[in-house]
Symmetry: C2
Subunit: 359 residues, 2 copies
């Protein structure tokens, strides 16, 4: 039996519509497809689930009918029979909305065409039952898998729970904390190195660092990379030039005041994220200093705020949406493969906030 796709679709559609008329409006089911294609529903199921053991010509027949009557498998029925929903979850506690939204957008991009949708679950690690709550969420909806973003991705209690209930998961973090299969590493160390190179090449020697929230891997890695980058130029990060921040704008202001009070003053300040860098800029403005003439400022993340301050921030761009897309793709492949998760390398974006040190 040869297939003339266009004619067949028209013909099958016609037959289907006349059947509909007889039986009253009703959505098409796998049985309809099977009947119209002249195969068993088992075979239709095989085609839909992309099983390998289907002859090319058979697949074509089935696909033609699927298209003709616009068959969409019922997700609930599939879920009931296969014991998992066509849903992927993202569990997050990152307080930055731009991170969250870009990540969601990327994940959705990666999910596109797969039939999976994204369900969101913010969590609060200060709540004693946040793991239990996530567990309920996953089990109730029978999620196919979850993607974890920092900093909850660094939480071993959450990871333990996921392993325990046997749910596929992918942890996005700055360091490899788990089986490579379950990790997507964003190389924050590299970003730190890039900043060190940039500032050293500009000629800076007295360089300060504003840390992020205590215990956050991202901040630690950025600092480690920064220090090792400085070391290549024979420099060390002196303790007095390290200010503790909280990843917030306000903490950036405070850190800025603290660093600006030092003598000799640093000629460059690297803050572990853009918000704090903007805060440092704010502190400078209050004290009548200007960037980059007096002090160069560098941030990290390349969020909107980096472009909404003046001077605009030199910063490290992290391709969050791309990461989300890769994460989703990896997640979907996880069922059938054991490949390690992808590694992401951020890059430096030079803007007006950094320049040569003052003479």
């Amino acid at each position: 039996m040869t297939i003339n796709k266009e004619n067949d679709i028209a013909e099958i559609t016609r037959r289907w519509l006349s059947e509909l008329e007889l039986k009253g409006q009703r959505r098409s089911t796998i049985n309809d497809v099977a009947r119209l294609a002249g195969v068993s529903k088992k075979t239709v199921s095989r085609v839909i689930n992309k099983s390998a053991d289907v002859r090319e010509s058979t697949r074509l027949k089935v696909e033609t009918v699927v298209q003709a009557i616009n068959f969409q498998p019922n997700v609930q029925a599939r879920g009931l029979a296969s014991r998992h929903a066509y849903l992927v979850g993202v569990i997050y506690d990152n307080p930055n909305p731009q991170y969250t939204v870009n990540m969601q957008q990327g994940i959705l991009e990666g999910l596109k065409g797969s039939g999976y949708e994204l369900v969101v679950h913010p969590c609060d690690r200060n709540q004693p039952d946040f793991v239990q709550e996530a567990k309920q969420f996953i089990e109730r909806q029978k999620l196919r898998g979850v993607i974890l973003t920092p900093s909850v991705s660094e939480d071993e209690r959450m990871a333990d729970m996921l392993r325990y209930i046997g749910c596929d998961y992918l942890r996005i973090a700055s360091v490899k904390l788990d089986d490579a299969k379950h990790m997507m590493v964003s190389n924050d160390k590299f970003g730190g190195i890039a900043v060190a190179n940039h500032l050293c090449e500009l000629g800076h020697r007295r360089i300060a660092f504003v840390t992020g929230k205590k215990g956050f891997r991202s901040s630690e890695e950025r600092q480690k990379g920064f220090e090792s980058g400085l070391a290549e130029y024979g420099l060390a990060l002196e303790a007095k030039y390290i200010a503790q921040g909280q990843y917030t704008f306000e903490s950036g202001i405070e850190a800025g005041h603290q660093l600006l009070a030092l003598r000799p003053m640093p000629t460059a300040i690297f803050a572990a994220n853009d918000e704090m860098a903007a805060g440092v800029l704010q502190a400078m403005r209050i004290k009548q200093f200007r960037a980059p003439d007096n002090i160069s400022i560098v941030g990290y993340d390349d969020f909107q705020i980096a472009k909404n301050v003046w001077p605009r921030l030199t910063t490290v761009h992290v391709p969050i949406a791309s990461m989300g897309k890769l994460a989703a793709e990896h997640m979907l492949a996880m069922g059938t493969s054991n490949e390690p998760g992808p590694e992401i390398t951020p890059w430096l974006i030079e803007r007006e906030s950094s320049g040569p040190p003052p003479k």
Copy 2:
């Protein structure tokens, strides 16, 4: 048969655990509940779905068992039988991440305890098939309902589609565009009035306005309210004091430059959102003007950026998370009631960017 709750729970739990041992690990089903409670599964179903026609004593029996064996109904099976998933969707195209995230958080809050989860669907109204895509999304997952945020909430093509497929929906917008049942109005006009009052009370007479994106109801309403507020003080918004913006920081800078070039210069500028207000502030900085000494600036939304600029912005606070919560609650109630959606009134937050006009 009397119920002694505590004893019964212990007893039933014991029996259930011993059964589990016999049959191997397995999740509990409605049949287990029915058997242990000595009723039919239909009755258990009635209890779970809070049907009215169940005797108090029966309900108690069933609830005791449900609690004892920690029964959680299978969402897929419910979905298959009832033709809708335990999912609510949010469809959005608001470019501001903070809006999106706060809204999601609020919706989730309102969904808490209901067993419903939230699935997200950004869309792009420039794509010709964005409605079709949303339709597929809803029908594939058989969503219980969707919440629409601006500006896609203002799109009649989307609303038509939702009515056509019979999906419950709630449109969040600045004006009543639909049946009250399907609307949640955020009173942007009121916000505009509040700003006018504030500036007029401070003594301003030459006041400028920066509009948002053309065709956006929010901007139009804010402007309308602003004008009517000015009118109460015998003022009108002159055409030359209206600058067209795009709701972006950059467009705020441009609008700022344009307004600062006017003579006589306005003594106050109201921008239709915070980002543009920050942009105006940026333009002022470049031209060596200071707020509020030379010109007062007022924004709208009270997003993070309002606090991350100096001077911090006087602005109109919109309680987005609360709106999300109310929206979710209204959505869930929509199945059984025809109540109109809630109306939200924003309020003014005074900060350092506004003050009396220069003498």
